[in-house]
């Protein structure tokens, strides 16, 4: 029983290490994305940290990536991505999607 327990702990620790994935950041300020283009590696899982510096909520949305996430004002949202195929994946801040500043693209290579 004890051995089983330690094995489980070991396994959990192993998965935790495996789960440590690369992080990339994207900032929203005055309803505009900075940067508007972000390059991510193909074929592996990554985390995109979306930092909303505005006081109002924003929504990161990408139909191409199948992602939508509300980022409350003055907070950071984590968006899990990948593994992705090489290509261009547009995203928008849905609440201001018609504004070019609120549109961006993820380039995967």
């Amino acid at each position: 029983m004890k051995r089983l327990l330690s094995l489980t702990v070991l396994l959990l620790a192993a998965t935790a290490t495996l789960a440590a994935v690369d992080e990339f950041t994207l900032t929203i300020k005055d309803h505009a994305f900075v940067p508007k283009e972000i390059t991510l590696p193909a074929g592996k899982k990554v985390k995109l940290l979306v930092i909303n510096q505005d006081a109002t909520p924003a929504e990161f949305e990408s139909k191409a990536l199948g992602r939508e996430k509300v980022i409350p004002g003055k907070s950071t949202g984590t968006v899990n991505l990948g593994p992705l195929k090489p290509g261009r994946y547009p995203f928008v801040e849905e609440y201001h999607e018609n504004d070019p500043a609120a549109q961006g693209v993820i380039i995967v290579e």
Partner: protein, 281 residues
């Protein structure tokens, strides 16, 4: 003004389609109007609470609170829709024959009523919370200010509701003989579509593999932001760039509900046959 109208239209359209299909599918259930109204009101209250607590919720479950919450709401709604359809496969025939509630006990009506209530409340809650946040964001950030935002929002809401009303009126024109079969199919597709959306949130939370993201891309042929794309998304869950796991969930829910309906229906027929045999003796 236009941005507000468009986004509110999109959110309210999804809820309106769900409400219309549920309204049609539960035709003949006693006091369903009251259940539906209660569902809308409860959903609106819930939406405000969720919007206000969005910050706290987002931080839960290591930042995956939103994803888990959305998935849970969707899965609960899928369960309710499945239950409704299986129940209808037992009672639908008598309802089509009588188109009235006289044959059924009050207890069953209440149970079915709470299904209507929950499905509608969950739909309004989900779409409403996003709308509230959006309007809040827009009203405080745009030069248009509060008044135009509200004006735009209201016209979006009116347009979304109008489509719902038109769908309902159209469904009512279906002859009674086919009526519950058709609404049954619509409810099934609605459930499958919600299952696919739930899968999308679970993939986003990194709890499910995506199995191809996206599996295919039809955005050039039929964009999800076009009028037809929006309508098909609301009705059958059309997505231009779905993940493989979403398709798996969609098909599995369709098959599970169909199997449940078949099983319940055949049990009902067997019972009916035994009754006829007993009567003959």
């Amino acid at each position: 003004m236009f941005a507000a109208a468009l986004i509110v239209f999109r959110e309210s359209l999804e809820a309106a389609l769900i409400i219309s299909i549920m309204a049609a599918a539960t035709r003949g259930i006693p006091s369903r109007g009251r259940w539906m109204l209660a569902g809308v009101l409860a959903g609106l209250c819930g939406a405000t609470v969720v919007a206000a607590g969005m910050g706290a919720m987002s931080d839960m479950a290591e930042g995956m609170g939103q994803e888990l919450f959305n998935a849970a709401i969707l899965i609960l709604a899928v369960g309710m829709l499945a239950w409704h359809n299986i129940w209808m496969s037992i009672h639908g025939r008598e309802m089509a024959a009588k188109a009235q509630s006289a044959a059924r006990s009050v207890k069953e009506g209440t149970r079915e009523g709470s299904v209507i209530f929950l499905v509608i409340a969950l739909a309004v809650l989900r779409e409403g919370a996003e709308t509230v946040l959006f309007l809040y964001s827009l009203a405080t950030s745009s030069e248009d200010g509060l008044r135009t935002t509200i004006g735009g929002g209201l016209s979006g809401l009116a347009a979304g509701s109008l489509v719902g009303v038109l769908l309902y009126a159209g469904l009512l024109r279906i002859p009674l003989r086919w009526f519950f079969s058709i609404t049954g199919v619509l409810v099934m597709l609605l459930a499958a579509s919600m299952a696919s959306q739930a899968a999308r949130f679970l993939i986003q939370a990194d709890l499910l593999p995506s199995y191809g993201a996206p599996l295919w891309d039809t955005s050039a042929t039929l964009s999800q932001t076009s009028a037809l794309g929006l309508l098909l998304h609301g009705l059958i869950g059309y997505e231009a760039q779905p993940a493989g796991m979403q398709i798996i969930s969609y098909v599995m829910v369709l098959l599970a509900i169909a199997a449940g309906m078949y099983w319940a229906g055949s049990r009902k027929r067997r019972e009916a046959r035994q009754h006829t045999l007993a009567d003959a003796h």
